[in-house]
Homo-oligomer: 195 residues x 2
DNA sequence: GTCCTCCTGGCAGTTAATGCCAAGTAGGCG
DNA sequence: CGCCTACTTGGCATTAACTGCCAGGAGGAC
C-alpha cells in the first residue's frame, strides 16, 4: 500500500536526477542553477529542495545507500578474515553495485573536477568511516605492543578509503580503461609493501 | 616602502580573525553571520570579503601557507631518505609551526564539528596532496614489479594525509592531552605493520 | 460525497558572495 | 603646501542557495 505516492516520487526523483546530471555534464556544476534544473525537470524549485536537501545531494545523494551496503557487507565477512580483507571484500561489492560503468565514470569525473562536490563527497564518506570503525575494531586481534585498537581501526579504515579514493581518481583520469579493483590493490600494495 | 598599508592590513586581518574565532567559539559557526563579524570588528562587510574570500577562509585561511611549508620541507629532505620519512619530517615541521596548542585545538575542534568547515578543510588538503605527488614520485625507486610510480606516489600521499587527519581527530577528541606526533606514528604503524 | 492526510507550489525572507561606483587616504612630486 | 596618481574602502544592487509559511490540490478511508 501507499504505493502511488512512492512510485511517482521515484519517477520524479529519477527525472530530476537525469536532468541534473545532463545539465552538469553539458555546462558544468557551478554554472547550472537550481532554477534551471527545476524548470527543465518540470517541477517547482521548492519541491526540488524537498527531494534533495542541497544542490550537492543531486550528485552525492545515493552515497548513503552505498555506505550502508558497505557496512553490511564488511560485517558479514567470516570472523577469521582480516580487517584488510574484509574491507577489500566490501569495496568489491560496492563497486559492482554502483551504476552502469558509464554513469559511474561520468559522476566520478564530475566529482573529482568540482572542488565543492569533491569536498562534499568526502564529507559523506567520512560518516561511513565513522560507522565502520567499530566494525573493524571488533575484527582486530589485540596483539601486544600494538596501538590502542581504536586508533588502529581508525587508521586502517582511513587508509582503505584513501586508497579507494585514489584508485577511483586514477580510474576516472584514465577514462575507465583500467580495472578499478586492480588499481585499488596497487594502491594498497604501494602502502603496505607488496600486500 | 608600501608599509603603512601592509601594516594596517595585518592589524585588520588579525582583528577580524580574533573576532571571528571568538564568535564562532561562543555561538557556533553556522549561527554567526558575516554581518555580525564585520560589525564587531568595525569594518564593512564588503571589505571583510576582500580580506577573506569566503566565510570558511576565516578558519581555514592560513592552511595555504602550511601547505607550502609542507611541500618545501619535504623537498628539502636528503635524497636518500624514503618517501615515508620525508613526509613524516614535513608533517613534524608543520606541527610545530602551527599556532599555540590552545589555538590549534580550538580550530581543530571547530573544523571537525562543523561539516561545511570540515569539507572546506579537506578541499584544501586535497590541493596539497596534488602538489606533493610529483615531489614524492621523484623520491621513489623504480623497483621491479611495482605499480606505476604515479599510482604509488598518489597512494602514499593519500595514506599519509589520511593518517595525519585521523591523528588530529583523535588528538582533538582527547582535548590535546596526547602527543600528536605519537598518534601519527601509531596510525602509520597500524597501517604499515609496526612501522 | 466527505473528511483526513500528505504533497505541491508560490512567495517572502535570510545568508553568503560578487560587481560596480563614488568617496577617502597614503605617498610621490612640483 | 597643493596636486595627482594608486590603491583602498564602503555602500548599493544583484545573484544563488536555501528555509519557513500558507493556501490549494491530489490520494485514500469511510
Amino acid at each position: 500500500m501507499t504505493t502511488l505516492w512512492e512510485r511517482s516520487r521515484q519517477v520524479a526523483v529519477q527525472a530530476i536526477l537525469d536532468t541534473a546530471v545532463r545539465l552538469f555534464a553539458e555546462q558544468g556544476y557551478e554554472q547550472t542553477t537550481i532554477a534551471q534544473i527545476a524548470r527543465e525537470a518540470g517541477i517547482s524549485q521548492r519541491s526540488l529542495f524537498r527531494y534533495f536537501g542541497t544542490k550537492e545531494d543531486l550528485v552525492c545523494g545515493d552515497q548513503e545507500a552505498l555506505g550502508n551496503l558497505l557496512k553490511r557487507t564488511v560485517e558479514q565477512q567470516p570472523a577469521e578474515m582480516s580487517a584488510w580483507d574484509a574491507l577489500r571484500a566490501g569495496f568489491e561489492v560496492v563497486l559492482t553495485a554502483n551504476h552502469t560503468p558509464e554513469r559511474a565514470l561520468e559522476l566520478s569525473r564530475l566529482i573529482f573536477d568540482t572542488p565543492s562536490l569533491r569536498a562534499r563527497y568526502i564529507e559523506k564518506r567520512l560518516s561511513w568511516q565513522a560507522e565502520l570503525v567499530p566494525v573493524i575494531r571488533a575484527r582486530l586481534g589485540n596483539g601486544p605492543g600494538r596501538p590502542a585498537p581504536d586508533t588502529q581501526a581508525r587508521a586502517i579504515v582511513a587508509t582503505v578509503f584513501a586508497c579507494a579514493d585514489t584508485a577511483t581518481e586514477l580510474w576516472a583520469g584514465h577514462d575507465g580503461r583500467l580495472d578499478l579493483a586492480d588499481l585499488y590493490d596497487q594502491c594498497l600494495g604501494a602502502v603496505r609493501g607488496q600486500g
